[in-house]
Subunit: 340 residues, 4 copies
Amino acid sequence: MDFSSDTSAPAHPRVIEALGRVNEGYQPSYGNDAITAELRGLLSRVLETEDFDFWLCASGTASNALALSCFCPPTGAILCHAESHIARDERGAPEFFSGGGKLHLLGGVGAQIDETELRGALARIDHDFVHETPAHVLSLTNLTESGTAYPAQQIAHYAALAKEAGLTVHLDGARLANALVSSGASAAEMSWKAGIDVLSLGLTKTGAIGCEIIVLFGEARSKLADLKARAKRSGHMPPKMRYLAAQAISLLTDDLWLDLAGIANQRAQEVANMLCKAAGTELVQPVHGNEIFVRLDEDTAAKLRAAGAVFYTWLDGSSRLVTSWATGPETIDAVASAIS
Amino acid sequence: MDFSSDTSAPAHPRVIEALGRVNEGYQPSYGNDAITAELRGLLSRVLETEDFDFWLCASGTASNALALSCFCPPTGAILCHAESHIARDERGAPEFFSGGGKLHLLGGVGAQIDETELRGALARIDHDFVHETPAHVLSLTNLTESGTAYPAQQIAHYAALAKEAGLTVHLDGARLANALVSSGASAAEMSWKAGIDVLSLGLTKTGAIGCEIIVLFGEARSKLADLKARAKRSGHMPPKMRYLAAQAISLLTDDLWLDLAGIANQRAQEVANMLCKAAGTELVQPVHGNEIFVRLDEDTAAKLRAAGAVFYTWLDGSSRLVTSWATGPETIDAVASAIS
Amino acid sequence: MDFSSDTSAPAHPRVIEALGRVNEGYQPSYGNDAITAELRGLLSRVLETEDFDFWLCASGTASNALALSCFCPPTGAILCHAESHIARDERGAPEFFSGGGKLHLLGGVGAQIDETELRGALARIDHDFVHETPAHVLSLTNLTESGTAYPAQQIAHYAALAKEAGLTVHLDGARLANALVSSGASAAEMSWKAGIDVLSLGLTKTGAIGCEIIVLFGEARSKLADLKARAKRSGHMPPKMRYLAAQAISLLTDDLWLDLAGIANQRAQEVANMLCKAAGTELVQPVHGNEIFVRLDEDTAAKLRAAGAVFYTWLDGSSRLVTSWATGPETIDAVASAIS
Amino acid sequence: MDFSSDTSAPAHPRVIEALGRVNEGYQPSYGNDAITAELRGLLSRVLETEDFDFWLCASGTASNALALSCFCPPTGAILCHAESHIARDERGAPEFFSGGGKLHLLGGVGAQIDETELRGALARIDHDFVHETPAHVLSLTNLTESGTAYPAQQIAHYAALAKEAGLTVHLDGARLANALVSSGASAAEMSWKAGIDVLSLGLTKTGAIGCEIIVLFGEARSKLADLKARAKRSGHMPPKMRYLAAQAISLLTDDLWLDLAGIANQRAQEVANMLCKAAGTELVQPVHGNEIFVRLDEDTAAKLRAAGAVFYTWLDGSSRLVTSWATGPETIDAVASAIS
């Protein structure tokens, strides 16, 4: 019963198999290999467009920071939620990669940006007022850090507001698959069709060893050379790129990534339902993906820990339980028997 | 006949097997897993000391830049060879990670720093003269960018000079195994016993998918927390660290890394010998590892290309041919028949 | 009737005279001149200690950012008020000078940090939790951005809390003289006696052309060489330092800086009193220095503008009026006649 | 007999007078004042064009670094002479301001870039080769660090080569006036007419307290907003800009800056001639401005020191003597009597 994080789970077996399959013969280095080329075709089917470029990156933090640094100058700011991963959990990566840019933090329930705050922040941007740092990018996260999902329409609405104000729109999709499954939107609907310019499409938490895809859509493609230069000098241009591409191919083929996210989401629902049967236990956030934020009564918490369940206590005293593709039905039974 | 780079070769099969072996069950994230713990024991045997700390990193560029940034402040400089990888081939990674530090470039044949230049640069360091940027680190590379190896005694001599001047000494060991095999030195003799404070121990070019070990020795261990913070914010703290540790374990176990480097070195010797039989062809550098720098006569070059050989032309007009663990005896035969 | 800023006013005549006085003969460059040496003695009397080092800087923004960058590593954060000058009005200078450090913003009325928020932020610092950016510095501002003054005891209380948590304490004293005059504290009581480690002692807004003194107290003096190196490479090591020193000497001699601040404070009180006579006009903040934050009724605002008064409208709709040493009694009369 | 530096000399009296003259009444902050506006007209006459924008800066180091950072991205490089001020004497300012850009050092006698080296470096630029850092800017210096002057035609020739390769051309004119006087070129001929895009026009060494003008010509004007933002966040946007503008006006009016440089150049010639009469003393560089690089025989050096002459010994053992507007005829006599 390890609910500590979806990154504690093993990779999906097909990912390992894929590594073995591409482990033959010579391939050009730095992304010029045949496997990366093959991935492009697959990605274009998944994203339903040809109007994109991409870069592979083993790290979610770097994927976000590289994406942001191409659009936020050192003298600029990024609008994001105060509880977003880029603000809270990346040790200043956006500031580092952008050369000293700022995060402008916005509030909102469920780690979703409040529309009034967003409108206020957009209205305040004044590139002629040299003393304040103007926002250049809006960064959204789906699944959010509270485990909730923005509907694609909300993403589209916020993106439209941001673009009207001249901003580029970034989506941190470390758990994009979970949001897609729960909302029923396609990857296209949740990204470029909604106005996303640059997407961090995460696969690590879904089942890869370590694989994220930075996708540039439309006009944002003009930043590809800059992205590559920044990737190179930050150590995110692996010579043996084929092994990243293979991971992505294995997960995107036949929608395996969505199937795995579906399992994780389903398990999260089941665990949440189980926990809520206990008196005094209630959800802190709706469960839209594979994360459960719940206020456990002391007795239930103690029983879970006694049965070997691993999970984190959050700043507000609630508990976070994360499921993954590897969370089996036996885990649900174990939870049931632990708290009964 | 792909001699473009050792990073064009596939990973060694045992590396892939190792990934499969650790792909079971849950493991704590970010380096707190059992596999990384196991690696520590193995590393201590390989390095013949317990007085070290380490961090795993998929990238050689990041491995160097992270190591350097812990010891060179933004207001300081790094002494290195003008042709070193950190100066030429990392797109400003040391400057980026250090926050604007400088590389102070030194000359010398075979991409080895000339002792007179080194002594001159060390003598010029004056921390009280605020206008010039004083050196804080000496960075050596073994195998060098010209495919030559410093003997361990030379490393020790230069490290002693640098330390007398108050510098920290870094060794870029992207092809350390090749240098160890050709020089007969042990990893300990080439690192901490020679006065190296921080080592980038590379395994990617030896046979890993992407795996480098940053090793801090002795007093340099005080920088471990700083190293981790910098790794985190540069996207070099993979949540699923076990898969990096597994690569390292597979290669360091039973000296596989040295065996693979030995094969690559042996093939390089054979190819070099073969090429030198051609009239008008001569080595530009002695072959101390798995890289051949050779001036090919036009006819030989044309024959090689016609037979499908892939290799780079260097700035000075010479050719670079790189072998790897995967360069088989049939490649030697192919070279022979191509140029006969 | 220019109330736009104290930086719109001319310098005090004695400042100009001082420049003429030192404009004779040769002086060593970069702060090694006799005038800067003379200033040291004067400063030690003003600050009532010998246990300090200092650096002169023409810019308040640089004075703050240089001071902060010596104590906040690129992987660290600075605690400050959400409305502080370093957060709002310096275009990311702290992030730039620190190499990508973060500002951790705290709330509180009157632009003074709320104690509960401060305690909460201090309690959350965990240097072992690598994902979050730990605070290394507490930066206070006196006079605050809302024109209020922290009493020296409050500074001392906050500094003690911060030091217990291992932080360095910085005071942005761009309008320190105004705070000293209104609170009756001495410069020593408001700085090192209250636990301030590094002080930006501003004279520009008080009456200089452009002159700020970065003062390092006690253990913070160990950063002097780092401060100089950072000053040099950011263009804040003027070769002809004597002209900065002369400004500081002219203002600190015979407490001229405090006299000028006293005049500005007195005028602010008079203007505030005058404005508050108008029905519908009320102060938004208490007037502790030379800044008036007031909610003007439309009629009064219109009358003032019609009479030529210049002042800014703030984000919350209130008006900010700033007085200076050059605000004469005739200005008070002009306000009176404008709104009568 | 102070030959240590032209920055050891006092400011010209007219500079001090100008400060007094503008020290009346209120002026808008941050460069929006009437004096700065007046300077624009004067500058346009001096530069013989209206197609420019400018920014005032008290520091030569910042003037160079700000200018360069607008045109060299963090992933790019700047071509400059290995002995240039930006490479040797600014403690990494270009790296800091550019966010980790690189200086690519070129050789050449008299601190003037060798044409073959320049052509070689330009030919090597390959924006598609991600591993190496491509040059974006050529930075020339006139007067050079060796006291020699490039003729305007040479500047124009190098600028044309650089522009063909897509580079922006910067001129560090810390001692521009000295080069103009000795070469007979006008400021226009040595800057925009020669293809200079961005000029650091120095007045500090000529006779100001501290005043440099960053001038953007033609297409480079598109960077004005970026320049201002960078100036702001590096502490180079003084609120009381009028005092910088006044310095510039006093020196540019009636060509005072050229007259002062003419005096300094003349004194340098006289001192050089005097010194060369001593057996065993010879110039190391031709004297094109106000700097003398001379190999003094020991006896002459001793006599000069004994007579109170102050000057620096250079790295190569030669001596540097710098004259200024304040070097009077009595100094020539003193030198004569010292060495006779």
